[in-house]
């Protein structure tokens, strides 16, 4: 079975000879021909009448793309492009969240500081695109099935000879006349190169091929899974999370004999008997108001800070019932439902007669309809309220001498 003719090739010894041959080939009107040289020979493009390469345009376009990507990327992530609009309003997923933080006193879009990355990405995009497009687009490689591969011709031109190859696809191709032509221009080792005979792949080799294909696909997807689902979502640093410790509502840790460290097997334990929490000293005058009135004294001094604090606390907790000025006319007392409750005025004779400690007792334990305020108001604040109350009492019922 004779295989289809691909081309006729000839070898030349010197660069001058091949330049000469290339020029003659163009003159003879052949179009589908090629010159193979072990290294780029100067002047060959001109001799072959080749048009200039368009590769630099690709480089330029990709350099610009790299630059624009870098500008937009830095602008989006750090430059706060959306202004005050929150990402929750735009319903952006968390991974599209921007990070507009002022760092080093620079503006959010700090152009000079963004220049290095712009430069690097420009170079990176341009270089990769140049190399990839040169090989894949302009040279149509990789490909190992070309008929010239593995011929004596290729072995010569890859080392020390210069080859001319006129292809059968040329409109004016005729095997005999091409051979004569090549002889005329001084070519040696003139040969016809035929298309390689393609054997149908054997069953075994197909199995091997698909096996390798499956393995590669499996490997790549496993790798992707690991990278994108495990590595990228790895928690930052988990030693504190995974170290031995007790969390609320958990069972007790076990000791080396596999017995719980705490006898009841619970992780949470009651405080030791008699423990007093900070700021929760038990009230020692419970149910003994008179004693409290006699023994407790206000530890706070009269100053602006204490009075301001007292005013604030009074208005939060007391004024609702007792009224802003302590006259018993708070908001609660005006309501229909609270008709039965008449919070007493704090300016009554009885109230004025109460010592600081006695009032303190009322705040802590409550009186009549008033509940205890011990849970809401801290000890310090109770005393500051009393300070403020005294000031109120005096202000409402001011004497002539107070104005001096």
């Amino acid at each position: 079975m004779s295989r289809r003719l691909h081309s006729v090739v000839a070898l030349f010894k010197s660069p001058d000879a091949i330049i000469n041959a290339a020029e003659k080939t163009v003159e003879a009107g052949y179009q589908d021909f090629d010159v193979h040289t072990p290294y780029p020979v100067h002047g060959m493009d001109h001799a072959m009448k080749l048009k200039g390469t368009k590769l630099p345009y690709v480089s330029l376009v990709f350099a610009l793309i790299g630059f624009i990507v870098a500008v937009l990327f830095q602008w989006y992530t750090l430059g706060n492009p959306l202004g005050g609009i929150g990402s929750d309003l735009l319903m952006l997923p968390s991974w599209l969240e921007r990070y507009p933080f002022v760092i080093g006193g620079k503006p959010l879009f700090s152009l000079p500081a963004f220049v290095p990355v712009m430069f690097e990405l420009t170079v990176l995009f341009c270089a990769l695109a140049t190399a990839a497009s040169m090989i894949m687009f302009f040279c149509n490689l990789p490909g190992n099935s070309h008929p010239l591969h593995d011929t004596e011709y290729m072995r010569s031109v890859s080392s020390d000879h210069f080859g001319l190859c006129i292809e059968a696809s040329d409109p004016s191709f005729d095997e005999a006349s091409v051979k004569t032509f090549l002889e005329d221009v001084g070519g040696a080792a003139i040969q016809s190169v035929r298309q390689p005979y393609k054997r149908p792949p054997s069953f075994l080799s197909s199995i091997v091929f698909f096996g390798i294909l499956l393995a590669v696909i499996g490997g790549v997807s496993t790798k992707f899974y690991l990278i994108f689902n495990k590595v990228l979502y790895m928690a930052p640093w988990t030693w504190m999370e995974t170290q031995k410790k007790l969390m609320p509502q958990e069972a007790s840790l076990l000791d080396e004999n596999k017995k719980p460290i705490f006898k009841d097997g619970r992780g949470m334990q009651r405080p030791v008997e008699g423990t007093v929490a900070r700021g929760f000293m038990p009230y020692q005058f419970s149910k003994t108001p008179d004693q409290a009135g006699r023994l407790l004294t206000n530890p706070l001094v009269v100053n602006e800070a204490n009075l301001t604090r007292g005013k604030e606390m009074y208005q939060i907790y007391c004024a609702l019932c007792h009224g802003d000025f302590g006259k018993g006319d708070g908001k609660v007392s005006n309501r229909e439902a609270a008709k039965g409750l008449r919070p007493p005025s704090l300016h009554s004779k009885k109230m004025k007669g109460f010592s600081d400690g006695r009032i303190y007792h009322v705040i802590v334990e409550g009186q009549n309809a008033m509940p205890s305020y011990a849970k809401q108001i801290k000890e310090q604040d109770r005393w500051s309220i009393i300070l403020y109350l005294r000031a109120l009492q005096r202000a409402v019922d001011a004497k002539e001498s107070d104005l001096k």
């Binding site: 193979h36 040289t37 290294y39 390469t53 963004f114 990355v117 890859s158």
Partner: protein, 457 residues
């Protein structure tokens, strides 16, 4: 000896036969010198083993095994990082900048220098990763959408470094590989062993030496060289900004970017000379890597040595001229303080010793070349040591002063990095053409047509 300077000196000595050039370059791959190869590889692997042990120790115990402390937080890892990045720069300079300047003599040494770039940058990258203390979280350095809703800080020089070094590595690698493609194709057609042939076939991408391809190839190579040139200048400038953008006295200087680039080329050339002298000897490439190459490299070495010497003196001048007390103190401390020995080793090795290359005899003596290239490497390592340690250990507040004492693990990792680098270089020289066949052939005598395709005169 009289030389006719009106004609260019031959770049390849003794032969104009193209196949002989192939034979000479392919010889190390086809007839491996087992004794030399395994001895060299054994030594390199031993050092690499020490490096692996020190990395394991580091990962298990944390960065506390190093001598770094609160005052000198950067220590050896950053010294080594800058040192190795600098080594890489010579490769790009030779392959890209000299290419753009049409310095044809570069062809003999370019491939090897580029390979050294690749391995040096990988070696360099190990150090900042290890220095973070948690190298397994290195992907946090990259800006990818993540569940933490964080983006990297593009305003930080350290982040610029991530982009600069990774771009540099990628582009250098592409440049190197594009240069290798025709040589892989030549090797594919030379070899008969089946496995070798398959491997070379795959990596040669089916290159056919077609002139219709060479046309695009040459342009792509030119563009890549044009891209590498500003890139290589930017990389060490950005590395220097890691220092210069801070306000530490001794670092906060505008001379840093050019000073670092000159230093990088200086140290890189020294390393290239050191390794080439050995390779040339073992693989008998004397007529491809000729005395002409070595002499020109020694001239570059001296020129860049003078540049760093200028930078050293200018730093002192500016410290005095600025009138800043802290700046002045740091420089006086550098020359006469705790680490004065490091400073004087640096000055001696980098500015004084290379002056021997004013003499032609020294430029042409392999022994002198080898010794000077070694002392330059030592001097340049100490330059980075001086910059990092002597600036940090005495900054503004005396209460935060402290000394840096390297531990055994600091030194073992440094040794390990040399092991890593040389393992790569040795394997490269065994399995890939150490010199570019197609480029050397293109510059050999009678390789290019005379004008108008006429006969030789």
């Amino acid at each position: 000896m009289s030389i006719d300077y009106s004609k260019p000196l031959p770049l390849v000595e003794g032969t104009t036969d193209l196949r002989e050039i192939d034979d000479a370059i392919a010889d190390p791959m086809e007839n491996p010198r087992h004794k030399e190869f395994y001895t060299a590889l054994g030594i390199a692997l031993f050092c690499l083993g020490i490096g692996i042990v020190s990395v394991l120790k580091l990962l298990l115990d944390g960065v506390g095994v190093w001598g770094n402390n609160n005052t000198v937080a950067w220590g050896f890892p950053i010294v080594n990082f800058v040192f190795w990045i600098g080594i890489g720069h010579a490769g790009t300079l030779i392959s890209a900048i000299l290419f753009l300047m049409r310095q044809n003599w570069r062809t003999g040494i370019a491939r090897f220098a580029e390979a050294m770039t690749i391995f040096a940058v990988i070696t360099a990258l190990l150090f900042p990763l290890l220095h973070t203390g948690r190298p397994w979280l290195a992907h946090y350095l990259l800006p990818y959408p993540n569940e933490r809703a964080l983006w990297v800080n593009f305003r930080s020089p350290l982040l610029w470094d991530v982009f600069a070094v990774s771009t540099y590595f990628t582009v250098s690698f592409v440049f190197w590989y594009i240069g290798l493609v025709p040589d892989f194709a030549t090797m594919r057609d030379r070899t008969t062993a089946k496995l070798k042939k398959t491997i070379y076939t795959i990596f040669s991408l089916g290159w056919r030496f077609s002139n219709r391809h060479w046309q695009h190839y040459e342009r792509a190579y030119l563009i890549l060289a044009g891209l590498c040139t500003p890139l290589v200048l930017s990389v060490h400038s950005i590395v220097s900004m890691d220092f210069a953008v801070s306000i530490v006295p001794g670092w906060h200087t505008t001379i840093f970017p050019p000073y670092f680039v000159a230093g990088a080329i200086f140290s890189g050339f020294a390393m290239v000379i050191t390794v080439l002298l050995v390779v040339r000897r073992i693989y008998h490439l004397e007529h491809i890597i000729t005395m002409l190459h070595l002499e020109r490299m020694s001239k570059v070495l001296m020129a860049t040595g003078l540049m760093v010497g200028y930078a050293y003196s200018m730093e002192f001048f500016i410290a005095w001229y600025s009138g800043v007390e802290f700046e002045q103190y740091v420089f006086i401390n550098r020359a006469f303080g705790t680490y004065a020995w490091g400073y004087w080793i640096m000055v001696t090795c980098n500015t004084l010793i290379p002056q021997v290359f004013w003499f032609k005899k020294c430029r042409n003596s392999l022994v002198v070349l080898f010794i000077v290239s070694i002392t330059t490497n030592i001097g340049m390592w100490f330059e980075r040591f001086v910059i990092v340690v002597s600036s940090l250990h005495r900054d503004y507040l005396p209460s935060s002063w402290g000394d840096f004492i390297p531990t055994i693990w600091d030194f073992s990792l440094l040794l390990g990095s040399f092991g890593f680098f040389f393992t790569g270089v040795i394997l490269f020289s065994r399995f890939m053409p150490v010199t570019s066949m197609s480029e050397v052939k293109a510059v050999s005598d009678c390789a290019q047509p005379t004008h108008h395709g006429g006969d030789h005169e």
